[in-house]
C-alpha cells in the first residue's frame, strides 16, 4: 500500500495529503471559521486583518485577494474548506469550476452535461 500519495499524480488534481494539510493549516482554519456568521461578517469588514489573524502566508493572502482558487489549492487549501470561502463570495460549485478551468459558468455547466451523458 502506498505510503506516499504523490507517487501517482493526475493532471489538474491536488490531493490533500499530510504535506498539504500542514502547509494549508491556517488557510483552512480561517475557511472553517466561516461556518459562523460572525466570522463571515468580520472577514467582510476587513479581509486583510482577518487573514492576518490566521497567519496566512503572503502567497495565501494574495490568492484570497485575487479569488484564485487554483492558487489556494496549491497553497494547501482543501476544497471542502475553500467552498466556505467561495460561498461567502456567493459563488456556487459551477462558478468555482469555471474559475478553475478557465471557462464561463455556462461553459462549465455545458461540459458537465456532456460528461454526464458520457460523451467524453
Amino acid at each position: 500500500m502506498a505510503s506516499n500519495y504523490t507517487d501517482r499524480q493526475f493532471q489538474g488534481t491536488y490531493l490533500f495529503d499530510g504535506q498539504m494539510a500542514k502547509k494549508g493549516y491556517g488557510l483552512n482554519k480561517m475557511c472553517y471559521s466561516f461556518n459562523d456568521q460572525v466570522a463571515r461578517d468580520e472577514f467582510n469588514a476587513d479581509p486583510e486583518a482577518y487573514c492576518e489573524k490566521f497567519k496566512l502566508t503572503q502567497a495565501q493572502k494574495e490568492a484570497i485577494r485575487n479569488r484564485d482558487v487554483i492558487g489556494l489549492l496549491r497553497e494547501g487549501g482543501s476544497i471542502y474548506y475553500l467552498a466556505k470561502f467561495t460561498g461567502l463570495l456567493k459563488l456556487n460549485m459551477q462558478d468555482i469550476g469555471g474559475l478553475q478551468t478557465g471557462m464561463t459558468t455556462d461553459e462549465f455547466k455545458a461540459m458537465l452535461e456532456r460528461n454526464g451523458r458520457g460523451e467524453v
Binding site: 500500500m1 502506498a2 500519495y5 501517482r8 493526475f10 493532471q11 489538474g12 488534481t13 491536488y14 490531493l15 490533500f16 495529503d17 499530510g18 494539510a21 493549516y25 483552512n28 482554519k29 475557511c31 472553517y32 466561516f34 461556518n35 459562523d36 456568521q37 463571515r40 482558487v69 487554483i70 489549492l73 482543501s78 476544497i79 471542502y80 474548506y81 475553500l82 467552498a83 466556505k84 467561495t86 460561498g87 461567502l88 456556487n92 460549485m93 459551477q94 468555482i96 469550476g97 478553475q100 478551468t101 462549465f108 461540459m111 458537465l112 452535461e113 460528461n115 454526464g116 451523458r117 458520457g118
Partner: protein, 282 residues
Amino acid sequence: MANIIGAITTSHIPAIANAMANGLEETPYWKPFFDGYPPVRDWLNEKKPDVIILFYNDHGLEFFIDKKPTFAMGVADEYYNSDEGWGIPTIPPVTGESDLSWHIANSLVDEGFDMTICQEMKVDHGLTVPLNLMWPGHKYGHVKVIPVCINCEQYPMPQPWRTFELGKAIGRAVASYEKDLNVVVFGTGGMSHQLDGERAGFINRAFDLDCLDKLVSDPEALTKYTNIDLVEQGGAQAVELNMLIAMRGTLLGKVTELHRNYHAPISNTGSGLMLLEHEMPK
C-alpha cells in the same frame, strides 16, 4: 434480533437541499433526479424501519483537520445540523438510537475498528440531505438514525477494502443485537465527481454504472480499488464511493435490487439511487 431489511444508495449534495427549499423538483434540470425517489419513499413508508444506519462524510461542520477521525460514529439520542457557511437551510434535529449505537461501538472496537465515539456530533448535508430526500418536508423525526462518518477529505483515508470490512463488522453487530428492530442502511455520496483543480467537472458515467452493478452482484470487486484508483477512474471526490462500499459490507445475506435511478450531472456529480432488499443470513 435486529434485522437489516434493506439498503439505499443516494447522493447527498447540498444543491439538492437548495432545490427542495426552493421547490425546484419539477423543473427540467431536477425532474429526472427527483423522479427516481417515489418508489424508494413508498418502500420506506411500507416497511417502516425503526433505525437507519447512515454512512456519510463530514465536509467541515463537526470535524476540522485539527483532529480528523478516520471512522467516527454517533451514540447520541439527538443530533443537530448547523450553519455550514454557504447558505443551505439549517434543518430540524435528527433522532438518534443510543442503545444500538453503543452496542455497535462496543462490538466494533472489540473487533479492531477503533472508532471515534461521539456523544455530540453536528451532522452536515452529508446526513441531512438523504433524510430529507426520503422523508420530504423534514418528516424524518420518527426514525432513529445512527451516523457513521468516514474520512473522505484528508489523506490518508481508509481504503475501500477497509470500509467494506467496517460495513461487515457493523452487519455482524446488528445481527447480535437482541431487540427486534428493523434496520435500513444508507450509503450516501459520490458517485464520480471532481470539485477541485483544472480537472474539475470530471464525471465518468460508465464507471458509475459499473460500480452500481458491482454493488449489487460483486462488491468484492470494488474492494480491489485503492482510493487513488477511485480518483483516477471517478475524479478526486469519487472516494465518497467508500460510503456505498461500507453500506454493501453490512449486507451479509441475500441481496435483491428493487429499484435504480442513475442521473448525471446533478451539480458536479453522477447521482446513483439504488434500493436493495436484504434477507439476513440464517
